[in-house]
């Protein structure tokens, strides 16, 4: 077998987590509320990174199921924050172009969310969600919840303007400079 350590090094540096220290106590996987939905378990992902299985990890669905609840990181006896590693893996997956193939809708939702904030400085649920539905053609997913919210007056039709909108746009520009554009915008 080949042992490409570059992947492990890259993940370790970008996430700031010392993932080699993991001794596979399985606490993270046991505590992860989403682990039963994941194709690769959190601790297995760490091992695969160590073994240089870059494609397998970045193409997985598991990294998109992580909701960053940080149960894993808070309880890990070696203080490894797996959710931070998941974040890094998600970024890498997007950069590598694997993201859409794995969990398209998750990525699309994420991108619309990010775009909405960039536009308005603050999330505007209605346009964000319409944008998501248009891209993903996933009309029915949260429709019942959306209608209930609408009925209770929780969804303002017009976006709220904020004072720091320009500064938020600048933050985005700076982020793009260092991390690259969103895949969709390239």
């Amino acid at each position: 077998m080949t042992l490409d350590t570059s992947f492990a090094t890259a993940v370790q540096e970008r996430s700031g987590q010392d993932l080699a220290v993991c001794y596979h106590c399985l606490k993270c996987t046991a505590g992860c509320p989403l682990s039963s939905h994941m194709d690769l378990k959190p601790n297995s992902i760490l091992r695969m990174i160590q073994y240089g299985q870059r494609e397998r990890v970045l193409k997985s669905h598991a990294i998109w199921f992580c909701v960053s609840c940080m149960t894993c990181g808070v309880r890990c006896p070696n203080e490894i924050d797996i959710s931070a590693i998941m974040d890094t893996l998600r970024e890498m997956a997007i950069e590598a172009g694997y993201a859409y193939a794995a969990e398209k809708k998750v990525v699309q939702l994420h991108e619309e969310f990010v775009r909405s904030i960039k536009l308005w400085g603050r999330l505007h649920e209605v346009t964000f969600y319409i944008g998501y539905m248009a891209r993903s053609l996933d009309i029915l997913a949260s429709l019942p919840a959306g209608l209930t919210l609408l009925a209770r007056g929780k969804l303002p039709f017009l976006p709220k303007r904020i004072k720091g909108a320009k500064q938020i746009k600048r933050l985005y520009e700076r982020a793009y400079k260092t991390k690259g554009q969103l895949a969709e915008e390239e």
Binding site: T5, C22, Y23, S35, S36, N43, N78
Partner: protein, 1083 residues
């Protein structure tokens, strides 16, 4: 000034007593019982309940009055049992019953005066308004937090303004004194109402402020916790409570006691403060803080204990029901970011607790959630396998949390199974295996004694001097230096003693005074004159058995010339009395009827000896453990039994004969077999203590296995230079005679008097010595698996270390395989050192040959104690650890280019194919081939694995059953260098207990042979565990001769002897049969 006295008449009897008494007290003086509810002798009378009514007549006027509040007066006439009195009391009882129909106590007292129901309208109160609580709170406790409020119908007791009181100290006195159980402290106090948890029962049981710490406490007397005792919490002028003082019949309570400062001049200090446990409440997700059914391992020990709060039943603390499924969660507070060490004991204690719980309750299911099962000690792996056979489930996963199951009172643990699927299991009891931490006083002790603590807060020691602190003359033992198990702790303790003894060798015996005894009386030909002393033992015996009656009975027995009873026969003043009485009544046999001989027999024998009698003319009758304690609820029967026991003791005492011990001279020389680090350490310590030592090594060089160790895990100590130092010290020491290339061919004799034949260059030399230390070491298993021996790229860890020490490696990818030959059929034990060795070499490779891939294929990583941090470092450095199961071992094939290693990775659930340049095996530590011969020569046993077997694995880890022979190092079991050194020093301490005396005093109650009857059959010798009987030829006949020094008086030979030639002194058949006759009253 004398209190003036008053005479009055009660029920036509005259009573004279002090003028400040009440009529109720006067009735009490003459034994007239008056019903009361609101009266308590420690509190001023209140007259609330009106049950103590009596009829009084003074100056011709008769009245009905409450006797408790009525002071006595001269000439008063009192009638307590007239019809009028009885009728009026009954009405009062009916009123009380109407107020509190649910109160058991009210019903009880009412029934005593013949009232069972009431004509009045029933209310539903609990409180009878007796005011006992208000009085105890203000007058005894000095708080005054509760008092009466309201009037008439609305009268009630409560805190001021009916608000939770901040003056209330939640001491519980009101709840305790309330006759109707009507006090709910949570409604009264603003403080949290929490019972004070007994420390010994790990908080499971409440205790009062004055308490006996635990049943085995020495001294077993109560102590007062000043932090919760009201007397000490309140200002001195309040002089609160003092309830314990008034309760104590011996007047033993002294509140003025202060800490006494004692100045001691010492030459050495041994610190053994123990450890404390990790506070499980810190891990909120584990449920300890909110669920009563989540307990710590120590609490579970108390739950399992027959003397614990549930008497050994496995019950759930929440509802007292039997637990059916128990989960054990390992590594709570160990092996994590805050405690990067392993607590070493938890894997084994959890396994033990699971097995014992299942024994107490068949059908119980136990699951242990673990990471690595650290069963590295002697016999531990076999125990672990047995646990699996018994059905304990071992699940390799550290659960994330313990959760309450919705809608039920059970607990759920989510985990990951072998294949990596998430699963969950429900339990009704969860045990957290909490880790060991330094004791609370660690920092304080370190400051006071000037020693250094390590990064974790434990006492800092070095690998080559494991019981020595950073300060000369201050030694440590036990978990204070590192978490460790019982055998290692006991070993450490003797090791620390050895260090102290070698330091203070010159002072030996200088501060000891010999005790002088008067000459022994010759009682031959005298009729028995027996003295019997029956003990009350406070209330222990006297509370059940009628001791005076028993003593009287004893006096009536033939040959008993004197009998008395004592409150505490073992007290020093009673010893003085006994000695005087022996002389006064010319007693020639003494019997004490009290506790078990195990407590005070030596004391009484000594007393008897001091009075000039042979100490074996003394007999004990156990009327406590075997009588009052087990027949607590049958005092009459217990008294009869006590009399029987005394009669039996008297029957035997008539036949007691004086027994004499011939002290055996001791040759204060030591023989150490084996010149490795253990043998040398033991030899050096004994030599420093002043004893000549013969150190025998069969190879031409000293050093043993240590010669092959070039660096240690901790990188601080250099083993080769330490070895050199040790060897020079040995060679230079005037007390040590080194025998190289020599063998011990023969050992004769017994403790204190051995004569051994050492063969060197074909020449036989006989040396005399008093003790033997077996330090013959062990060797490495030569693997046949994994291509070892057929491919030179497969080497052992030892060979790897030699390579690395010379700076070479010659490989880019190294695969290490652990447990080669260990932990399998035929060798079901752990070789203990290999995980640390492998990690040590892996770290060396990473440090000196960076870029080399290292894989470690393991079954459990057993880096226990402080070795854990090196495992962490190894992972950090990129060493890859892959676990394998014994059913699925790695497979190694070779081709000229590389070695191919195939190993199944359970995390990835795939087989890894690793191309390696070097495969390093960790072979088992195995006994030398001729260990069995050495064992036979020394007449000591081996374990089933072939290592030497000590007298007791936990409590006597360096002794053999045979006196005078000791064991250290690898010969005992696989262990590291520091552990070998500690054990070797321990043997030196144990040996010194014999060598430091001129004479060895054997047991007097031993077997004796009537050589006329003895047929020389040898059955006695085959039965004896101590090799005491020896078949010798006397005047042409074979007879058995008992070695007085070795015989322990167990009686096995006496019962085995077919001809009755062997009898047990002190337990001769006639003595026993007389006792039986006395018990059965045969003539």
């Amino acid at each position: 000034m004398q209190m003036s006295e008053i005479t009055l008449t009660i029920d036509q009897q005259q009573v004279t007593l002090r003028a400040d008494a009440s009529v109720l007290e006067a009735c009490g003086e003459i034994g007239i019982k008056i019903p009361t509810l609101c009266y308590h002798k420690a509190l001023p009378a209140y007259g609330a309940c009106r049950l103590c009514l009596v009829e009084t007549e003074l100056g011709g006027r008769t009245r009905i009055q409450a006797s408790c509040t009525l002071p006595v007066s001269e000439g008063l006439i009192v009638r307590t049992d007239t019809e009028r009195v009885t009728k009026t009391r009954r009405v009062m009882a009916e009123l009380l019953l109407a107020r509190c129909p649910g109160s058991d106590r009210v019903r009880e007292v009412a029934a005593e005066i013949g009232v069972t129901d009431t004509r009045f309208e029933e209310k539903n109160e609990d409180c009878i308004l007796c005011g006992l609580c208000t009085r105890v709170c203000s007058m005894l406790m000095g708080s005054g937090a509760i008092d009466f409020g309201g009037r008439g119908d609305t009268r009630r007791v409560g805190p001021a303004y009916d608000k939770h009181s901040s003056i209330c100290m939640a001491c519980g006195a009101c709840a305790q004194i309330c006759p109707a159980n009507a006090v709910d402290l949570t409604k009264v106090s603003a403080r949290p109402v929490r019972p004070v948890g007994a420390d010994y029962d790990a908080g499971l049981v409440a205790r009062s402020s004055i308490y006996i710490p635990y049943q085995q406490a020495i001294p077993k007397i109560p102590v007062i916790d000043r932090s919760t005792c009201m007397h000490f919490l309140k200002p001195a002028e309040v002089d609160a409570c003092r309830a314990c003082e008034s309760a104590c019949p011996a007047g033993a309570i002294d509140y003025t006691q202060e800490d006494e400062m004692v100045d001691l001049q010492v030459g050495a200090v041994v610190l053994a403060p123990g450890f404390c446990l990790y506070d499980a409440a810190e891990k909120l997700e584990m449920g300890y803080a909110w669920s009563p059914d989540v307990v710590t391992s120590l609490q579970f020990e108390r739950i399992l204990s027959a003397s614990g709060p549930y008497e050994g039943q496995v019950l759930r603390p929440s509802n007292g029901e039997h637990a059916k499924q128990i989960a054990f969660l390992q590594c709570i507070g160990s092996r994590d970011d805050d405690h990067d060490y392993c607590s070493s004991v938890c894997c084994m204690y959890a396994t033990k607790e699971a097995i014992i719980a299942m024994e107490h309750q068949p059908g119980l299911e136990c699951s242990i959630f673990f990471m690595d099962l650290r069963a590295f000690g002697k016999g531990f792996d076999a125990y672990y396998e047995r646990a699996k056979e018994l059905g304990v489930r071992f699940i390799r996963c550290r659960p994330s949390s313990v959760e309450q199951i919705e809608g039920s009172d059970g607990l759920r643990v989510k985990y990951v199974d072998e294949e990596g699927h998430t699963a969950s299991a429900d339990f009704d009891l969860v045990v957290l295996s909490v880790g060991l931490k330094p004791p609370e006083e660690a920092k304080e002790l370190a400051d006071k004694f000037g020693i250094e603590l390590d990064g974790y807060g434990f006492a800092s020691t070095k690998a080559i001097s494991p019981v020595v602190t950073s300060r000369d003359g201050v030694y440590v033992c036990g978990p204070f230096s590192e978490p460790k198990d019982i055998p290692e702790t006991v070993t450490d303790a003797s090791g620390a003693a050895a260090q102290a003894m070698s330091l203070l060798a010159e002072g030996r015996h200088t501060l000891v005074t010999q005790k002088e005894y008067p000459p022994e009386k010759d009682i031959t030909g005298q009729r028995p004159r027996i003295g019997v002393f029956v003990c009350h033992c406070g209330r222990n015996i006297g509370g059940v058995v009628n001791v005076p009656e028993t003593a009287e009975f004893a006096q009536s027995l033939p040959d008993v010339v004197y009998a008395e009873h004592n409150l505490y026969t073992c007290s020093s003043d009673t010893q003085v009395k006994i000695r005087e009485l022996i002389k006064e009544h010319d007693l020639n046999r003494v019997i004490v009827a009290s506790c078990t001989p195990r407590t005070h027999e030596p004391l009484f024998r000594d007393t008897v000896r001091e009075a000039g009698l042979n100490p074996y003319l003394f007999e004990m009758a156990n009327i406590r453990d075997q009588c009052s304690w087990v027949h607590m609820h049958e005092p009459a029967a217990a008294t009869e039994k006590a009399k029987d026991l005394v009669k039996m003791a008297v029957a035997k005492a008539r036949l007691l004969e004086p027994l004499y011990i011939t002290p055996v001279p001791v040759t204060s020389v030591a023989l150490v077999i084996g010149g490795g680090v253990a043998g040398m350490s033991a030899a050096l310590n004994m030599a420093d203590q002043g004893f000549p030592v013969h150190l025998v090594e069969r190879t031409p060089e000293l050093g043993g296995n240590l010669r092959h160790i070039y660096y240690l895990l901790n990188e601080e100590d250099d083993p080769q230079s330490e070895l050199e130092k040790l060897v020079s010290k040995i060679e230079a020491h005037p007390n040590v005679t080194v025998w190289l290339s020599s063998n011990v061919a023969r050992v004769d004799g017994f403790v204190g008097n051995f004569a051994s034949t050492i063969v060197r260059d074909g020449e036989e030399n006989v040396v005399e010595h008093g003790i033997i230390i077996v330090a013959t070491g062990a060797t490495e298993y030569v693997p046949t698996e994994y291509l070892y021996g057929s491919d030179e790229r497969v080497i052992t860890q030892r060979q790897l270390e030699e390579r690395l020490a010379s700076g070479e490696l010659g490989a880019k990818r190294v695969v290490m395989v652990q447990c080669v030959g260990s932990r399998e059929d035929g060798r079901m034990y752990c070789s203990r050192v290999c995980c640390s060795e492998a990690i040590k070499n892996a770290l060396k490779i990473k440090a000196e040959h960076p870029g080399t891939d290292v894989f470690v294929l393991y079954r459990d990583v057993r880096t226990y104690g402080f070795r854990e941090k090196y495992y962490t470092e190894a992972r950090r450095q990129g060493v890859r650890f892959v676990r394998y199961e014994p059913e699925n071992k790695p497979a190694i094939t070779a081709d000229p280019e590389r070695l191919h290693v195939e190993a199944f990775d359970p995390i990835l659930q795939t087989t890894l194919a690793i191309d390696a340049d070097l495969v390093v095996l960790a072979p088992a530590v195995v006994p030398h081939e001729d260990a069995a011969d050495v064992a036979q020569m020394l007449k000591v046993p081996l374990t089933s694995e072939g290592f030497f077997l000590e007298a007791h694995m936990k409590l006597r880890p360096v002794d053999f059953s045979a006196d005078g022979v000791f064991l250290a190092g690898l010969a005992h079991s696989p262990k590291g260098i520091d552990e070998s050194i500690a054990q070797a020093q321990a043997t030196a301490a144990r040996a010194a207990t014999i060598l430091s005396k001129d004479e060895y005093t054997p047991e007097a109650i031993i077997a004796c042979v009537d050589e006329e009857i003895c047929a020389g059959c040898g059955l006695c010798a085959s039965v004896c565990s101590y090799d005491a009987p020896e078949i010798v030829t006397v005047r042409g006949r074979r007879v058995s001769r008992i070695n007085q020094a070795l015989c322990k008086g167990c009686g096995a030979c006496a019962s085995a002897c077919p001809s009755g030639a062997i009898q047990q002194l002190g337990f001769r058949p006639k003595q026993i049969t007389e006792m039986v006759s006395a018990a059965l009253e045969w003539e």
